[in-house]
């Protein structure tokens, strides 16, 4: 046995079953929340905003809103998925099973990515009900969707492994990701920022994600799409390396 496919499938199915049990929490809530954003920012305020970079404001914020949901859901799903067995003690089974680190990550992160991508597409579909949408580069769009979901799910997995309480799992999305997203150009173009803030914004990795993702919709970007792709790929590799280190050292999973 060089690859435990049954093991990966078991973990994946277990995680997906959990999502189905909590369908309202995992899909309906985020879709409803994002719809509210469209109503408030897109229609109510956006009506007076005119266009940003030649795009209707309601449509302009769609990529950023999808990214925001992708970040938080990926982080939450993956961190919860691995933290919960630690919390209840059922992790003993995973640790004693003939499952490699790679297979464990594949199962948990694979399920988290699936959920996030489904959610992202659902929000996209919801958005199309409110604003005129046009996707110029669908393949790039899908690539960003997958890479972002995977990277943040890996990041979530790391948080779940390191977390010692449910608060810690909630704190990072709340304290780090949401501010970075709001400051990362989800609702505006970086070009609209005054001088020095524009430079500071470029240190925010989320800027590259939203910019690249928006480019795949409208062909306009704050930074070149190549740089965006490189940035997200870099983040992806960093998360992979951290996870590799976690398993190589048995950090926080084994005693």
């Amino acid at each position: 046995m060089s690859f435990n496919g049954h093991g990966v499938w078991s973990i994946y199915r277990f995680e997906m079953a959990r999502a189905l049990r909590t369908l309202v929490q995992s899909l309906v809530t985020p879709v409803l929340t994002t719809s509210l954003y469209f109503v408030v920012f897109g229609s109510a305020i956006g009506g007076r905003m005119g266009e940003v970079e030649g795009v209707n404001y309601g449509a302009f914020i769609v990529p950023g809103l999808i990214m925001l949901s992708l970040f938080t859901e990926s982080l939450f799903n993956a961190s919860f998925g691995i933290y919960f067995p630690k919390f209840t003690g059922t992790i003993y089974e995973l640790l004693s099973a003939p499952v490699s680190a790679f297979e464990t990550v594949l199962g948990y992160v694979g399920a988290a990515v699936t959920k996030s991508v489904v959610l992202g597409l659902l929000i996209l579909a919801t958005a199309s009900l409110f604003v005129p949408l046009h996707i110029q580069h669908p393949l790039v769009m899908i690539a960003f969707l997958l890479l972002t979901a995977t990277t943040f799910s890996l990041f979530g997995f790391i948080i779940g492994v390191c977390a010692n309480s449910f608060e810690q799992i909630q704190v990072i999305p709340m304290l780090v990701v949401t501010p970075l997203t709001f400051l990362g150009g989800a609702f505006y173009s970086i070009d609209m920022l005054p001088g020095v803030w524009k430079t500071i914004a470029l240190f925010n990795p989320v800027v590259y994600l939203i910019s690249g993702f928006r480019w795949s919709f409208y062909g306009t970007a704050d930074v070149a799409v190549g740089i965006s792709l490189t940035a997200i790929s870099g983040c992806f590799l960093v998360c992979l390396a951290i996870i590799w280190w976690i398993f190589a050292t048995g950090y926080r999973l084994k005693k």
């Binding site: 046995m1 049954h6 078991s10 079953a17 209840t88 003993y92 089974e93 004693s96 490699s100 005693k255």
Partner: protein, 313 residues
Amino acid sequence: MPSILTIRQLTKTYANGFVALKNIDLDIRKGEIVALLGPNGAGKTTLISAVCGIVTPSSGTITAGGFDTARAYRPARAMIGLVPQELATDAFESVWSTVSFSRGLFGRAPNPAHLEHVLRALSLWDKRKDRIMTLSGGMKRRVMIAKALAHEPSILFLDEPTAGVDVELRRDMWNLVRSLRESGVTIILTTHYIEEAEEMADRVGVIHKGELIVVDDKVALMKKLGRKRLALHLQEPLAAIPAALADWPLALKADGCELHYEFDINAEHTGVPTLLRQLSDLGIPFRDLNTSQSSLEEIFVNLVSDREKGSHL
């Protein structure tokens, strides 16, 4: 008998510097039932956890079925099933889905017939569609056993399987253990109930403060370490032990009607003939006498207290 599990020089030092296992050497033979005894904190759970991959050993090697549990962990773990000491189950899963999960996790293709067999053997079949959180504590423990058996392991670890479970489950569990042994499964269990070890196990190991102080055939262990008790049923009850016998380790029981004498059956002089002669010299007649072997519990207490005395020297 070939060894199915080999532990060599296993040492575990926890992150806080506590040495939980010291140079453990242990060979488990295929198809036997081994009971590990030891007071709380002795290191039994740590030993099992090290074999199963839950605790990383500090040094030493473990092989299961010839596979190193660190380097060839896949085939090694695939043959091991574990029922841990602590109750831990997925509250929201159904019984059926949790045992299916376990089987898949251990790399086995689905086999509903086997799972049905396991669930029936544990009286869980009627509950297979129930969510685990709706089950009683005893039922949850059955679920954990079912999970451990789902992938048809050839080595089964039961960590304190009967601690705090009801009589019915204990009986079912031992029936299951017997039938598993008949089908060739090797079973290693820890227990606080020495009668259980005595009744079930082929061999008994005693762990104390991280050291395996003895492993032996149960019968041989009782012979080797056993003490016997001579009980004399007196014709007339005694109010106290006569001063002339003060040097003897004697005890008066049953309101002075029985005189008990503990002796080591391995000692060169058991003292029995001398004691009987002295009693007749003192004019203390007895109606009857019998001897009984000490139980594992007594053996165990003696072993541990000998150790403690030894460590104070």
